[in-house]
């Protein structure tokens, strides 16, 4: 089907975009459009106006700042997949970006668009939660920074207000002897996750885990941090037994949906399997 009618605005700057959003109550930001346009063509989504920021190329960059890596919100998945700094310092992001959809989608879809769409089964929101990325939100009144734990509020809902624009995503550098990984369990490689698992960990001396974050996708309204499994592993040696025990409690707090690709029970079990595998993947990348 064709989308319903809407007005179209093509701002030439972020501030102009913010103003347009402010002036048009039921308008939506259009970035890569890979998720929004599909829903509009199915006539499930019908915003009255689109504010197209895809041309604001100044929002597409990967910049190494002092204590974080800054990624412009309009940076497309293809760039993230092939960026060497990300590959070295935040390998889980390379894992996640390379598995999104297909080449054409990765040529257009953006990290900001995917984050704001906030589908719990999407790859980047889960990976960014594991990194505890910080999201820079611009509004008429200036800019505020929101950590991942507060950015993803509910199903398809983020901290970005109606007349605000996500401008940058900041990844705090990981301490030495850190490693990360993201594994998507899905039917086909490019599909939405049945369970997505992102792990970022830092090793102390002697194979002891100093710090670990485990984020799970598609098992709750937002990416879910497996807090009890994290607490269990901190301070312990990351041997098979400890990892397996932690994996057993990784699904605490999860409330997965059921659908034809994965029942609730199946997803609860898969959280255990892929927590174990992703922790080991992250360990394998500790420098």
């Amino acid at each position: 089907m064709t989308p319903k009618k809407f007005d179209y605005y093509s701002p030439t700057s972020i501030n102009e975009a913010i103003q347009l959003l402010h002036d048009n109550e039921d308008s939506k930001v259009l970035a890569g459009g890979q998720s929004l346009l599909a829903l509009m063509k199915l006539r499930l989504a019908a915003p009255s106006a689109l504010v197209d920021i895809s041309k604001l190329q100044e929002m597409s960059y990967v910049r190494e700042d002092k204590d974080y890596l800054g990624i412009g919100a309009l940076t497309i998945h293809d760039i993230i997949e092939h960026n060497q700094t990300i590959k070295k310092k935040f390998t889980l992001l390379t894992d996640a970006a390379s598995k999104i959809g297909d080449q054409q989608i990765r040529n257009v879809g953006t990290i900001g668009g995917s984050s704001c769409h906030a589908d719990p089964a999407a790859d980047l929101p889960t990976a960014l939660s594991a990194v505890n990325a910080h999201f820079v939100i611009r509004s008429g009144k200036g800019q505020r920074i929101v950590p991942a734990t507060e950015f993803f509020v509910d199903l398809f809902q983020t901290a970005v207000g109606h007349d605000e624009v996500l401008s940058e995503i900041r990844l705090p550098y990981l301490p030495p002897r850190s490693g990360s990984g993201y594994i998507k369990h899905s039917r086909r490689e490019g599909d939405f996750a049945i369970v997505g698992t992102g792990v970022v960990l830092t090793m102390g001396d002697g194979n002891v885990c100093k710090d670990i974050r485990i984020a799970l996708g598609a098992v709750s309204a937002t990416p879910l941090r497996a807090k009890s499994a994290e607490e269990y592993l901190k301070g312990k040696t990351l041997d098979d037994k400890n990892i397996a025990d932690a994996a057993e409690i990784a699904n605490e707090g999860a409330d997965p949906p059921s659908d034809m690709h994965g029942s609730k029970e199946y997803r609860m079990e898969m959280i255990k399997v892929f927590t174990r595998r992703t922790v080991k993947l992250a360990m394998s990348r500790v420098m």
């Binding site: 939506k28 929004l36 829903l39 199915l42 006539r43 499930l44 989504a45 019908a46 915003p47 906030a118 089964a121 199903l155 398809f156 809902q157 598609a218 309204a221 949906p257 059921s258 659908d259 034809m260």
Partner: protein
Amino acid sequence: MHFEGTFNVKAPKETVFSVILDPNQISQCMPDLQKLDVKSPDDFIAIIKAGVSFIKGDFNLHFTTVEKTPPTHAKLTAHGTGIGSTVDMETIMDLADVEGGGTSMKWSADAKIGGRIASVGQRLLSGQAEKIIKNLFDCLQGKLEAA
């Protein structure tokens, strides 16, 4: 999809019964009420805006009371259309006295979604429908406690 719950309130059965069958009261607990058109207490139409982020739209819900044995039992059905989809819901409410005063309300709701929304994502849907119905009865409970 099936949802249910029970709660107790201080108000007597008769008051509770009159609130839960009063279209004006019920409709105030519906999300984003746009319009209310009451033909009779047992037959009214509520237009609400519901959905998830940008899958949002107006739903035209036509409520009818099909069973009524005051002050203990009521059954309402609702047939709604919106966003190229249909909602058919059946709500049963049973009231009983609680020792030491007040009323216990036991409710259940069975919702069937059809058409476009049902076709796109079970995973999007079940969470949302549950939230709307839970909020409705939590709000009713709040009203009844204040009654």
